[in-house]
Amino acid sequence: MNLSLAYPLPEVVDQSRRKRWLIEQSGNVTPRAELSHGVLIVPLDGSDQSRFMRDHELAHVHWSPKRPDQQALRNKISPDVLAAVEDMRMNTKLEAAGVDTSVGGWSKPVCQAVAKDVVRRKEARLLVLMAVAATGSGFMEEVFNDVLHDDPIGKSALEIARMAKNVMWNNPVPKFRDTIRVSKWLQALLDTGMAPPPKFPGMSGSGDAGAGLASALKIAREQGITKRATRRIPWGKLTLDHPPRNQRVAGYLGKRKRSTDEGDIPRQLHRLLIDGKIFRHTRRGRGGSVLIDGSGSMQLSDADIQKILNAAPGCVVAVYSGNTHDGVLRVLAQDGRQVDKQYIGTPAGGANVVDGPALQWLSKQAKPRIWVSDGQVTGVCDRMSAINTLECAGITRRYQIMREKDMNTAVKLLARMGRPRS
C-alpha cells in the first residue's frame, strides 16, 4: 500500500491560465484556496474528512471567482455571509457532480461539540451561517440538524438554511451570481432578524434575537423563494415636498418626565442617595413622527389622513406614494403647523416604490415613530421582493418604528400614547 501524501489536483480543475499551484499541508491552519496566488492549503492525509476538505477547496478552484471578497464589497454583502453561501454552493455542486460528500469535513464529536457550543451561546447569526455553510456536507449536516433541531433559534436557522438551498437551486446550474443573489437575501434576513428589538414606551419589546429571526423568517416565508422574489428591486427616487403649513395646530403629543432636585412633592425618594433628584417634573412632549403609506393598497381617503393629522398634534406627519420609478414624500405637519386642506391626500401615484427611502427619512425624525402601512412594500415598477420587505422590516426594528396596518389602529395608538390636549 502506498502511504504517500494524498495530493489534490487543482491543475485539472483550474479554468484559468495559471501554470503552477503550490500545495501546502494545512496542519493547524484552516484549509483554504488562495485563488489569486495559486496556493491550496489543505490536509494531505488519507482520511475521508481530509478528502472532503480537499474536494471542497478544489470546488472553489473550479467554481469560485478569484477575489470573492471584492465581490462582497462591491455588492455590499458581509464577507461571512458570502463565504457561508459560497460554501453551500460548493458542497451542493460537489454532490451534483457525483463527488462523495457523505462524510463531511469534521468528525462526529467535533461537529457535535461545535454545534452545541454555538447553541449554548445563543449566537443566532452564527447558527444561521453555520447551518447554511454545512448544507450539502453529508454527515456533518446531519449532526448539525440533530443538535440544532432541539433549539428554537437552531430550528429557525435550519429552516433558513433549507430555504437558502432552495433559493440557490432555483437555477439548475447555480453560478456565482446566484451566490450573490442568495447572499443578499440572507443578509437582508439576518439584518432584520438581528436588529435590536424595538423598545416602545409603555409597550413590551418583541423579544430576543430568536424572536427577531422568527419574524424575519415569517416575512421570507410569505414572500416566497422564487428567483424573482429573492432579487433585490431598487427603490425609486424620493422627492421631499414641503408645501406651506399655514394652519396652526393646538396641542402636543406625549409628555416627558424629568428628574430634578427641586419641587413640591418628592416622588422619587429612592434617588436621595443616588443623585438627590427626588422630584419629578412633567413637561410637554416634543411630539413624534408619523409616516403614512399613501399607496393604493392602503385605500386611505383624504378624510382618513385628516383623522391621523388630528390625532397627532405637534408631530411631524408625512404621507408618501410613488409612480413607477419615483415617489414623493409630502410633509403635512411639522412644528405645530399643518398644510391647507388642498395638500392633504396622496402626493403621487398609487404605487409604493419609495418605501425604503421614506422609512430612512422617518428614522431621522423624532421618537416615537409610527409608520401607517399594510407592510406591502415595492421597488421600482411596483415590483415586490423579499429583500425589499426584509429591508423595511429591518429599518423599523433598528430605528424603533411602530407599524400600524391601517388608519383606525394608528389613531387608537396615537390616542393611547399622547392623550392630546386642545
Binding site: 500500500m1 502506498n2 502511504l3 504517500s4 501524501l5 494524498a6 495530493y7 489534490p8 489536483l9 491543475e11 485539472v12 480543475v13 483550474d14 479554468q15 501554470k19 503552477r20 499551484w21 500545495i23 488519507g46 478528502r51 480537499r54 474536494d55 478544489l58 470546488a59 473550479h62 467554481w63 455542486k93 460537489l94 451534483a96 457532480a97 457525483g98 463527488v99 462523495d100 446550474v173 453560478k175 456565482f176
Partner: protein, 247 residues
C-alpha cells in the same frame, strides 16, 4: 503549414520544424511528455534513416556506446555500439537521460557530438571512423541542462528545446474524459505530485478492460486504486469536478 501567432506556436511545432535540419539537438523538460518518442520518430530524413537509441545510467560504460569485441564462432570480432553504428550509416543516435552518463561516457559523447567536419574516432580495433553524411544526435533529459550538464557538452547542442507541453499525439491516444487531466498533471513540476501521461494511459486501459467483467463504478475505482494508489480518490474527484460546467 498555416502561420501561427507567437503565442500559438508550441514547443512541438518547433521540434517538428527544426529536427530534420540540425545534426545535434537537445530536448529537455519534465518526464512523460513525449521527448523520446519525438527524438525517435520526428524529422527523420527519409524512411531509410536508421535510429539507434540508448538510455544512459551512471553505470553505463563508454564501450556500450562505442562498441566492443564479442566472442563469435570461437573468434573475437568487433561489434559496433549505437554511436559508431549511427556514424557509419548516417543514422540518428538518440541518447536518453544524457545527464546521467559517467565520466568516460561524457568524454565519448564530446567526441561523438563534435562538428561533423572534424569528428573522427580511433576504435580499439585500429580502425578510424568518421561520421557519414546524414548523421545526427538527439539527446533528451529531465531537468535544467544548464544545471545538470557540463558546459562543454551543453555547447555541443546549440539547438536546445524546452518541452513544456505533452506531445499532442500522446494525448490523443487517451480517452476524451482524461485527456485534459493528463495534459495538466504531466507537467507538474513537483515530482511527488506529477501524474504522467503513461499513468493516465495505464488507468484508461485498465478501466476499459475491467469494465468487461465489472460494473462501471467498480472498474473506475479499481483501476484508479491500482494506478494512482493513495491519490486514486483525489484523481477521480478532480475528473468529476472538471467535467461539470465552470462558474
Amino acid at each position: 503549414m498555416s502561420k501561427k501567432t507567437n503565442s500559438a506556436v508550441t514547443c512541438w511545432d518547433v521540434v517538428s520544424a527544426v529536427l530534420s535540419s540540425t545534426n545535434r539537438a537537445l530536448l529537455h523538460g519534465p518526464p512523460g511528455t513525449g521527448k523520446t518518442h519525438a527524438a525517435c520518430r520526428l524529422g527523420l530524413t527519409g524512411d531509410q534513416q536508421k535510429v539507434f537509441s540508448l538510455t544512459l545510467t551512471e553505470e553505463t560504460p563508454a564501450a556500450e556506446l562505442r562498441g566492443h569485441y564479442i566472442l563469435k564462432d570461437g573468434k573475437y570480432v568487433w561489434h559496433d555500439g549505437p554511436a559508431v553504428a549511427a556514424w557509419r550509416c548516417g543514422g540518428r543516435l538518440v541518447v536518453n537521460e544524457i545527464q546521467r552518463g559517467g565520466p568516460d561516457v561524457h568524454s565519448l559523447l564530446l567526441n561523438i557530438t563534435d562538428d561533423l567536419e572534424i569528428a573522427e574516432m580511433d576504435l580499439p580495433s585500429g580502425e578510424k571512423v568518421k561520421p557519414a553524411k546524414g548523421f545526427m544526435c538527439v539527446a533528451t533529459m529531465n531537468g535544467d541542462p544548464k544545471e545538470l550538464l557540463d558546459p562543454a557538452l551543453l555547447d555541443r547542442f546549440p539547438v536546445s528545446i524546452h518541452i513544456d507541453k505533452v506531445h499532442p499525439a500522446a494525448i490523443e491516444q487517451l480517452p476524451n474524459d482524461v485527456q485534459h487531466a493528463a495534459k495538466k498533471t504531466a507537467l507538474i513540476e513537483e515530482e511527488d505530485r506529477r501524474i504522467s501521461v503513461r499513468a493516465w494511459y495505464a488507468f484508461a486501459r485498465l478501466r476499459e478492460k475491467l469494465m468487461k467483467s465489472l460494473t462501471e463504478d467498480e472498474a473506475v475505482d479499481y483501476a484508479a486504486r491500482a494506478v494512482f494508489n493513495s491519490r486514486a480518490s483525489d484523481a477521480l474527484d478532480a475528473l468529476k469536478i472538471a467535467k461539470s460546467e465552470a462558474g
